[in-house]
Amino acid sequence: MEMKTILKQVMVVFILIVVCYLMQTTIFPHLELAGVVPNFLVILTTSLGLMRGTKYGMGVGFTCGLVADFFSGSLFGIYILIYLYIGFLSGLFKKLFYGDDLKLPLALIGTCDIVYGLIIYGIWFLVRKQFAFGYYFIHVIMPEAVYTVLVSIFLYYIILKINQWFDKDEKRSRRDLV
């Protein structure tokens, strides 16, 4: 790949991350349903990992985690680790990815968001003897996953269009080289 196309992709993905983070922290808290806000960063990491593979997923996950860590006010690095693994795991499903099919991406995004919730519960709640797992599962993890999947129906198509554009761009730059 040419340097220019790489730079272009980095820029576009970075802007996507910034926009998603801002939606998640400024606009959607006003639109919360059942007291939860959808997790845009998980949607982004999972869909890009699924479309473009493990390394890409890890890159996006790393950056998303970094951004989440900036404003978390707790241990620095913990969200990087979580998003990194989400990106890697969704990248493993690249073989099963077929453009327009919505079932796999939505199922994967839902699963990843539940896994994300379980990890957070494990790290910060279970260790402090908050054993009411059923309550947290029904009132935080599940609503968040459902809302996230709902939002991802729209967001996924945007990311898919961007992915197709990346593909075309790469092909063009390869043709230019030959």
């Binding site: 801002l22 922290t25 241990l75 690095g77 908050q130 009411a132």
Partner: protein
């Protein structure tokens, strides 16, 4: 680092490498309190200005949802508030009398006013935390406005939280309803100490947080008593109102009591907060 290049390095090694980096970061941040300072300045220039702008859009949305109250609701609310005004104005007159009495007594005893006005600065909430488990938010003032880690944040008449992280133009505040937060509190009427802990579970189900370890030998504490920050807390200034006791029960050890309290600050609609610039002197 974050783009697929021409490398043939298998991705599991990349994953292992990055994991190692993260673990190292975690240790560094645990041991030294490091929180990504150099990279962090990015956030000052990219996220904070945009959050400030987008905050207005969010405001418009929330105002619209307030507009949907019906006329009947508004009339009923108005009546209720009117009643409350009457009630409060009668209270004020008695309080004024008491205040003047207190002033003369304090003069007699040559006591300093302990809870005299703290220096405060107003700030605006510009963003929420990025997940549903914690109750943190970002405000639009940082170290350039003199805000430091550990300062108390209030809204209206009640304690909201504590500054946990400061950037140049923003600061992260952890609110008292956050599940990981504990405040040393005191029942105002009896001066008994207790620990007030945030609770995600009770906050979402009934808008309450918990308190525990209250020693109340004479059974004087009752529902409706106010709980304020205690003078022995090493992070919070004394005398800030936290909330009102709404449930109280005996612990199994028969020595202490625990229960729930309703916080006074409205955490669902936080927009403007006050940061207290004075900090607790703990002699550390």
């Amino acid at each position: 680092m974050n783009r697929k290049g021409r490398t043939s390095l298998p991705s599991k090694y990349v994953l292992m490498g990055l994991t190692l980096v993260c673990v190292m970061l975690l240790f560094a941040s645990y041991a030294t309190g490091y929180s990504g300072e150099p990279v962090r300045s990015i956030s000052n220039y990219i996220f904070v200005p945009m959050q400030k702008g987008l905050d207005y859009v969010g405001d418009i949305i929330s105002i619209n949802s307030n507009d949907t109250k019906t006329k009947e609701q508004l009339i009923a609310e108005n009546e209720q508030l009117q009643k409350k005004i009457d009630e409060l104005s009668s209270q004020i007159t008695t309080t004024r009398l008491e205040q003047s009495e207190l002033d003369t007594l304090q003069e007699l005893y040559e006591l300093d006013k302990q809870y005299s006005s703290y220096k405060k600065t107003g700030a605006r909430v510009i963003g929420r935390g990025s997940n549903n488990w914690f109750d943190t938010f970002t405000i639009n003032k940082g170290s350039s406005s003199g805000i430091k880690k550990g300062m108390n944040v209030i809204a209206g008449s009640g304690l909201v939280g504590i500054v946990t992280d400061v950037g140049k133009n923003h600061a992260v505040v952890r609110s008292i309803i956050d599940d990981t937060n504990n405040v040393s509190g005191m029942v105002l009427s009896t001066d008994d100490n207790c620990i007030v802990s945030g609770s995600l579970k009770y906050m979402t189900s009934s808008n309450m947080i918990t308190f525990s370890g209250l020693e109340d030998k004479n059974n004087k504490v009752s529902v409706g008593d106010s709980i304020v920050t205690s003078n022995i807390s090493n992070q919070y200034l004394p005398g800030l109102l936290i909330g009102y006791v709404s449930e109280i029960s005996n612990d199994t050890n028969k020595l202490t009591k625990s229960g729930k309290l309703t916080p006074v600050a409205d955490f669902k609609h936080l927009q403007d907060v006050l940061v207290i610039l004075d900090m607790k002197e703990t002699g550390k």
